[in-house]
Symmetry: C3
Subunit: 418 residues, 3 copies
Amino acid sequence: MAPRYAPSLRSRLGPLLLFLQTGFILIYAFYFEIQDNVVVDEAIFRDAYAEFQDVNVMVVLGFGFLCTFLVRHGFSSSGFNLLVAAVATQWALVLIGLESWYDRGKIPLDLRSVLVAEMCAASALISMGAVMGKANPVQLVLLALLEVSGFVLNERLLQGLLKVRPLKGIMLLHIFGAFFGLTLTWILYRKGSEGGFEKEKFDKKSGLFSMLGSVFLWMFWPTFNSVLVDDRFPGRKLGAVYSTYLALAVSAVTAASVSVLSCPRGKLNLIQMQSCILAGGVAVGVSMSAVHQPWEAMAIGFAAAVLSATGFKYLKSHMLLAFHCHDTAAILSTHGLPGLLGWFAHLILQIKDCGDHTVAIRFAVFHICTLLVTITVSLTMGTLTGFLLRLNVWRPPQNRKCFDDQAFWEFPHLAVRK
Amino acid sequence: MAPRYAPSLRSRLGPLLLFLQTGFILIYAFYFEIQDNVVVDEAIFRDAYAEFQDVNVMVVLGFGFLCTFLVRHGFSSSGFNLLVAAVATQWALVLIGLESWYDRGKIPLDLRSVLVAEMCAASALISMGAVMGKANPVQLVLLALLEVSGFVLNERLLQGLLKVRPLKGIMLLHIFGAFFGLTLTWILYRKGSEGGFEKEKFDKKSGLFSMLGSVFLWMFWPTFNSVLVDDRFPGRKLGAVYSTYLALAVSAVTAASVSVLSCPRGKLNLIQMQSCILAGGVAVGVSMSAVHQPWEAMAIGFAAAVLSATGFKYLKSHMLLAFHCHDTAAILSTHGLPGLLGWFAHLILQIKDCGDHTVAIRFAVFHICTLLVTITVSLTMGTLTGFLLRLNVWRPPQNRKCFDDQAFWEFPHLAVRK
Amino acid sequence: MAPRYAPSLRSRLGPLLLFLQTGFILIYAFYFEIQDNVVVDEAIFRDAYAEFQDVNVMVVLGFGFLCTFLVRHGFSSSGFNLLVAAVATQWALVLIGLESWYDRGKIPLDLRSVLVAEMCAASALISMGAVMGKANPVQLVLLALLEVSGFVLNERLLQGLLKVRPLKGIMLLHIFGAFFGLTLTWILYRKGSEGGFEKEKFDKKSGLFSMLGSVFLWMFWPTFNSVLVDDRFPGRKLGAVYSTYLALAVSAVTAASVSVLSCPRGKLNLIQMQSCILAGGVAVGVSMSAVHQPWEAMAIGFAAAVLSATGFKYLKSHMLLAFHCHDTAAILSTHGLPGLLGWFAHLILQIKDCGDHTVAIRFAVFHICTLLVTITVSLTMGTLTGFLLRLNVWRPPQNRKCFDDQAFWEFPHLAVRK
């Protein structure tokens, strides 16, 4: 008979986190520096700080509360998100700084690198969405470390091999994170979960908490897409803000429309809407540098929301039944499909703008290579991570304890009076 | 016997939203442009963007969660708010741009116009508060389209006939929205709802969600009032921020005081407080250009909170019983009365500052005309909208299904496992 | 037999708030002025306003929702927090302006003074955490008035006697607030509460609400620590931001680690984590001017989280049983201990940097005096306040009504239909 309680993580999580954290402090002590002598312009500081805060809110609050729709999994969704974000950001700062370290022996710390590190952490949080509820925090922390490593590696490859600009490379985080997460959850598939998990439900209040998370993502997505656009071109930055805002607004309306049309009783689905209102932001983020007119952004937002809402409705259960791929937060339809659509829109728009056939074909080859490299690295790292996380040594929760806060948290009723 | 289920909206909401969204994309494709050649100053962009974000947070999160106090209506309150805001903003952008279109054939898109469009959307969201829970999303979307049209029309009339400055005109959104909403709910009055609706309740957790919304409105209201003050006078902008902040702080204290005094058992009422802490912001917003000293703002905040709290306590049920006007979110006492008070305070303060009798009388006439025009347009449009929305073709929910998420949303328990 | 209902506050709270609010309006009318003739730079206004907003969010939303983990006390935690913040800020503005009033007869109002006033209010909110649930709003308002007076007095003493810089003085708010609150709750100890209170519990949803509050504090803490750093040194401001961010990230990881290690069944404790993820921010805030390297901030964050988590686990119940000191929100381990640790870290770091023994000893004496003065004023004011609040004239709730919203709020079920 299976044990009644979820396995204790005391001997795994505690030491792992202590080891990681001590390690980080040592690395930072020896290799990081704050450049005191750099003259910081007050205005630049303020701008960078405001943008950093917006992204911080999205990463910690937005992603953190997006998965709280799982009724018995709210503590884990928000708490593990914070934990993983804190670990992943520190690790990403190290990886991003490797080049400076190689050149100068020291890694300078500045707001822009913290911001890029947060975006790398975001890609790990996207992947986490696929296994949320089925993995314990030890597995999630390892996932984050490996995903961030893979993502930064992908960045380097794209920049080294294909001369892809950093901005464009980072915006592929949706595609990278989604495929990484899907591979992972496919490998970690649990027998006996074909019919879904006993505790994978949502209710009124948990639906509102996740509404909060998704609304925060929706509101600050224009910053997310515009933040890495070069400050020397505020016009382009502004364009990124408009495009993202309009695409998000269109997505919200379209998502509601598709949701009500695809339900036989003509009702809306809140979780579906929460995923799909963000589709426009994802798609425009990936295609941004080719979007020049408002209607292009709107059309992309429209297509992304239709694709995302349809994917959520029909693909999610199909993936589970046909491919044994259980995708908790529907990252395929939230990030994967809109990301691919954005990539495709970028291709079309750029080719349309090219006068010359040769240039167009060259761009297409380059653009396809970018995607292929990203997907290859993503699938490879996902597979590796999957096999590592399958080991029983990490003590994953039993099927019955999946999606249950009680497996990891001292529980309210029992912890009332000491 | 009445049908057991709320009527399906599949054949109404889906096509309506698809039609609107496709229409908007076409309009934007043909008539909107982003001016690439305009030199954008980085600092101006940043400032405008930060203000836009604050207003965006108020519109999407603040108004969205303000009505989640209805215990079975949280999904609808927050979800429909997002939907309506997205539709109304896109529509308002078109209406605001009509003048440019007439002059130059193209409508330029800039952050300021998006911001003004969001404020027009806010006036629609205020009106929506009065019918929340009793109207279906089809009706709410139509309401938003008509309300925004009316509001922009009112703007044009005030500017054309009376040379009212845009800032002052827009700040009348509270009065316009409140009277529009009240007319509407009066016309849409449902027989058999004298005793209130079966599911119109709040509970602990839903009270906290709406607390969240009202706290966000409270915190960002200084931006809402100062955002349209001309950037060339940062001193005046600063004054608007102080005045609003102080008025809000005074409102919060006064609302608690009146709430406890007006309850026989000496208890506070959370929903009453949530409405009334915002009264100071509304009143100061309307009277802003005449407020020069901190104490004036504080006194206005005090009077507004007293009026609003008393109105909430005694007027709300009176309106229902005597006038058959059911005001879900108490927009009369939250926006209507404080708005009128602000208008009156503006009159008094301006007259006090006038040395000359003639000037004072001229101002009074002008000021009264402004109000009369606004109320006339508001009542007229509200009546028109009311008669349109009464048509059974929109399939409003039955009385028993009012204030019930189950009428519009796939419900958690039933949607657990697919 | 004890009465069944909590005593009505109608005759206490209403008049008190009315009196205070009228008094404030009169004081502001006679002594406050907005300096119209000052030329305000647009950029400076924007920066100051953004920082003010961040602090405002922390004070109103962060602190307000941090204590909503008490399952039957959510309305009170968030509502009274707003009320007390509004009263305390107005009062702090008066006290901070006394010097200007003495010099010039008028108190100028500017964003910086509002900001400092909000921080004084924050120190009152910290103290409030210790008595939350056991005191009625009348007592909380009095507490706030006296705590803010004590805190401003302490500021003046430190500046007058020891020439402590304002920034450093204000950052002692954590230590001041914690000791004030602890003294108070020790004096207000209620017989029969050794075993805890009947209604002092948390549940899933209330845990998520307080998660929201603590996440907001976590996200905006870098602003809180950097806001008072002189604008002329943006480099130092940036350093404060990095240091705080890194310390908070380290705290989050460390808190999880200590939490899981200190639980026999290897589970995490959400409330413990919510307190301890903030420890790094507190400690770095107090020691900021001596922190120059990233690893120093991280090490301080690590130590603070270990101390805080251990304190939460073992000290909280020990304080109750051994010292009869019931600390609702664990302010000792959230603010007190990390604050002291930060003070100590400041001492060590500063001495390490001193080349000269004499300078080091002089600094140590000065630093110790600063702490002694702060603790002395804090304990004295706490004692005075405690004896004042013990009076039965304020009608504190009975033990059975502690931690119960029903004592102060018109209750949902009963207030459904009028």
